[in-house]
């Protein structure tokens, strides 16, 4: 897992939008980088600060949240809450001297299969460049 080219990244994905996007990407024969592990959640609004920290504790080098557009969130404010928490975790990481860019939040819509894959690739490239935590 800790091989130079496969930094572990955990992606918390909303089952309403991001996962549909994933489905589309699959149909498009676009595959996610292997180092990205997707955890499907009913709503990103329930991903707590601790959930975002745990992967780092357990060996991940990056974490991201892929949820709805803020103005069309399935549960109204789920992604907005998640984004606020991501900001909080960024603060914690900075205080620890860790690059805050190791955690990000993205808004997707169900139809954006290509974008879903692109986010995973971009995140992978970024984390690779930063190296292991």
């Amino acid at each position: 897992m800790n091989d130079q080219n496969s930094r572990k990244i955990i992606a918390f994905c909303c089952s309403n939008c991001a996962s549909s996007a994933a489905g589309i990407s699959h149909k498009l024969n676009e595959t996610l980088p292997e180092n990205v592990e997707v955890i499907q959640v009913p709503c990103t609004g329930r991903i707590e600060v601790l959930h975002m920290l745990k992967p780092f504790e357990n060996g991940a080098d990056g974490v991201y949240i892929a949820g709805c557009q803020e103005d069309s969130c399935q549960y109204i404010s789920g992604i907005t809450k998640a984004k606020k928490r991501v900001q909080h975790v960024k603060k914690i990481l900075s205080e620890l001297g860790i690059e805050p860019e190791r955690i990000e939040a993205f808004s997707l819509s169900a139809a954006r299969g290509q974008e879903f894959v692109q986010i995973a690739r971009d995140m992978t490239d970024k984390i690779k460049a930063m190296g292991t935590l």
């Binding site: 601790l50 920290l53 745990k54 780092f56 504790e57 990481l93 620890l96 860790i98």
Partner: protein, 222 residues
């Protein structure tokens, strides 16, 4: 409730730098309600400490425990079977907690993980404000149920001062002028006479000025 805020992580890391086995102790009282020292925050702080150790390639062990209350000896006692495994304890209760822990476990190094701020309440989700200064002689009924001791920047008993502007305190636009509130409320209620009454200097002996306070209720003492 007693309202607190987390200490900067850097400060906590500095405190426990020399320890490998650390116990984070939360409290299910006020600090749980104000989202700073409950079981959830114990988990977050413990995880943060572990991430810090991972980054520095250090081996540490972080334990997590949350007590019913840290301000009651019977609950503090609960730690006696687990505390021995740790070199240092971070209490994320209000300032009372780490002191009760220090008194009960004098051989342990106990560190405060939060900064205790004030007695107050949540005015909005995520926003707390001070309401009581614990002066020991409550007179808020003179002031329309609003406390000028705790809420006026100058603790004026006969306010408002000349710095009250647009309902805000001269100290900060984030502070409501409590005297503006008192005056408007009492005038609306037709209680101008109450406002015109001279409030004499307060006897501060019941406040912190009388020395550290202690309360004895004979009917409860065993």
């Amino acid at each position: 409730m007693i309202v607190a805020e987390p200490k900067p992580i850097k400060e906590i890391l500095e405190m426990v730098r020399d320890y490998k086995k650390i116990l984070v102790v939360g409290c299910k009282g006020c600090v749980t309600v104000c989202n700073v020292g409950g079981a959830k925050e114990v988990g977050i702080l413990a995880s943060t400490l572990r991430i810090a150790a991972r980054k520095d390639n250090r081996e540490i062990e972080v334990g997590e425990h949350t007590l019913e209350r840290q301000c009651d000896p019977e609950y503090v006692d609960e730690l006696k079977d687990i505390i021995d495994k740790y070199d240092a304890v971070i209490s994320i209760a209000c300032g009372v907690g780490p002191q009760f822990l220090s008194e009960r476990y004098p051989e342990k190094r106990i560190f405060p993980g939060v900064n205790t701020k004030f007695m107050g309440g949540a005015v909005e989700h995520g926003i707390w404000a001070e309401r009581c200064a614990g002066c020991g002689t409550c007179v808020i009924h003179y002031f329309g149920g609003l406390c000028p001791i705790a809420r006026c920047s100058k603790s004026l008993m006969n306010g408002p001062c000349g710095g009250s502007a647009g309902g805000k305190c001269e100290v900060s636009k984030d502070i409501d002028c409590v005297w503006d509130m008192i005056v408007k409320k009492l005038m609306k209620e037709g209680r101008l006479d109450d406002l015109l009454k001279f409030r004499p200097p307060k006897d501060w002996t019941t406040a912190r000025d009388g020395g550290p306070r202690r309360l004895v209720r004979e009917e409860l003492v065993k």
